[in-house]
């Protein structure tokens, strides 16, 4: 659990929307819908993404007591990714192209045939590959509308933003000096005038 590890990296956000201690049924349905499912197929990039319990990466946040902790919403974003190295793909591609040529009796494959073979070989290898699993925790202080996400990677934060917005139907505002200045009561033009 990143939250209790000895060294922490955190991205800070403010939530942008109406927050109540009790989520609507729509939100709870979204949470179930976007929970990570082991049996779900990967997307075309070999990836699966979804919410899991903070305490147990094999279950939905709704399936144990960790989701709602006295005014804090806590869970993790799990990303499973399968990859096929280009070298491995190349080896199996050559084999399959040779097989197809022998089967058809021709001495050349068209561009379309080559592309179709490549896609099929890649898909087959992806299905056989083991995923790398990454877990990213967050906790959300509902009263303060502050959220802490335990990754600094821009790509991972973008994925988190997308999943959070779809699930909770609200925006996330990345903390910034400008944003903090606004929350301290300064007007936009006052702050911009400092430049």
């Amino acid at each position: 659990m990143a939250i209790i590890s000895s060294s922490i990296n955190m991205s800070r956000y403010q939530t942008d929307g109406d927050v109540s201690a009790k989520f609507s049924q729509e939100i709870l349905d979204n949470l179930r819908r976007y929970s990570f499912l082991e049996s779900a197929p990967e997307d075309e990039n070999g990836e699966k993404i979804g919410w899991v319990s903070l305490d147990n990466m094999f279950i939905s946040p709704l399936d144990d007591d960790s989701f709602d902790r006295n005014g804090y919403i806590t869970m993790s974003m799990r990303i499973d990714k399968k990859t096929v190295s280009s070298r491995t793909l190349k080896v199996f591609l050559i084999k399959e192209e040779q097989r197809q040529l022998e089967q058809s009796g021709s001495d050349k494959l068209s561009k379309t045939q080559k592309k179709d073979i490549k896609d099929a070989v890649r898909m087959k290898l992806l299905q056989q590959a083991l995923p790398t699993i990454a877990i990213y925790d967050f906790f959300w202080n509902l009263k303060g509308q502050s959220l802490y996400f335990f990754s600094l990677s821009e790509g991972v934060n973008n994925r988190f933003y997308e999943l959070f917005s779809k699930t909770f139907k609200m925006g996330l505002i990345k903390t910034s000096p400008f944003g903090l200045a606004v929350s301290n009561g300064y007007e936009e033009k006052q702050i911009l005038a400092l430049a």
């Binding site: 659990m1 939250i3 209790i4 000895s6 060294s7 922490i8 990296n9 955190m10 991205s11 800070r12 903070l54 305490d55 902790r69 006295n70 804090y72 806590t74 906790f139 202080n141 502050s146 802490y148 600094l152 505002i173 990345k174 903390t175 910034s176 000096p177 400008f178 944003g179 903090l180 200045a181 301290n184 300064y186 936009e188 006052q190 702050i191 911009l192 400092l194 430049a195």
Partner: protein, 181 residues
């Protein structure tokens, strides 16, 4: 103007904040009075990442507290700031009562990197069993939020000076004198 554009235009605020924080911590012996918390001691320690922006050219310099001839004391970092470089990241040590945090603060988004929260004793649960994960969670959240409250409170103090006339009338010259020495 959009939010992203505003954030980009005011990117200097974070660097100015870190520079102000360093200056104030050395001026006050690192003691700050934080609302709802009381006294907090803060040091901007030897880890910095500075950047010079000269038109489209950026140079990054990392200074740390190491002893080699390429890594010097903060004095060289201060001189670099005087010559126009901006602080992009700074190492911070924060002490409140018996608790000590160390972390790196990023100027762009005030993200927190490599935070080492205060060491705590193992918490036993209601059945007196070791390793109460629930308790550890609440304790860790408390400690993280406490450090963030301090950072945000200091930022508020900084903004009060930055927006006011005192910045140009007094603070800038005090900081420059400090940077030069």
């Amino acid at each position: 103007m959009g939010l992203l554009e505003n954030i980009a235009l005011t990117g200097f605020l974070g660097s100015d904040f870190l520079k102000w924080l360093w200056f104030m911590s050395e001026r006050n012996d690192g003691i700050f009075n934080i609302k709802d918390i009381g006294h907090a001691q803060l040091a901007v320690n030897g880890r910095f990442r500075l950047e010079k922006v000269d038109g489209s050219f950026k140079e990054s310099f990392t200074y740390s507290g190491c002893q080699s001839e390429n890594c010097t004391s903060p004095a060289e970092a201060r001189l670099s700031l005087f010559k126009g470089k901006a602080i992009k990241e700074a190492g911070i040590t924060l002490i409140i009562e018996d608790n000590e945090w160390s972390f790196t603060l990023d100027s762009k988004c005030l993200d927190i990197k490599s935070m080492k929260p205060p060491k705590t004793e193992k918490i036993k649960d209601a059945e007196n069993n070791e390793d109460d994960s629930e308790g550890r969670f609440y304790e860790r959240v408390f400690l993280i939020e406490r450090a963030v409250v301090v950072i945000d409170s200091l930022f508020a103090s900084f903004m009060a000076e930055r927006i006011g006339d005192i910045w140009n009338d007094k603070i800038i010259s005090e900081i420059n004198t400090w940077l030069e020495n």
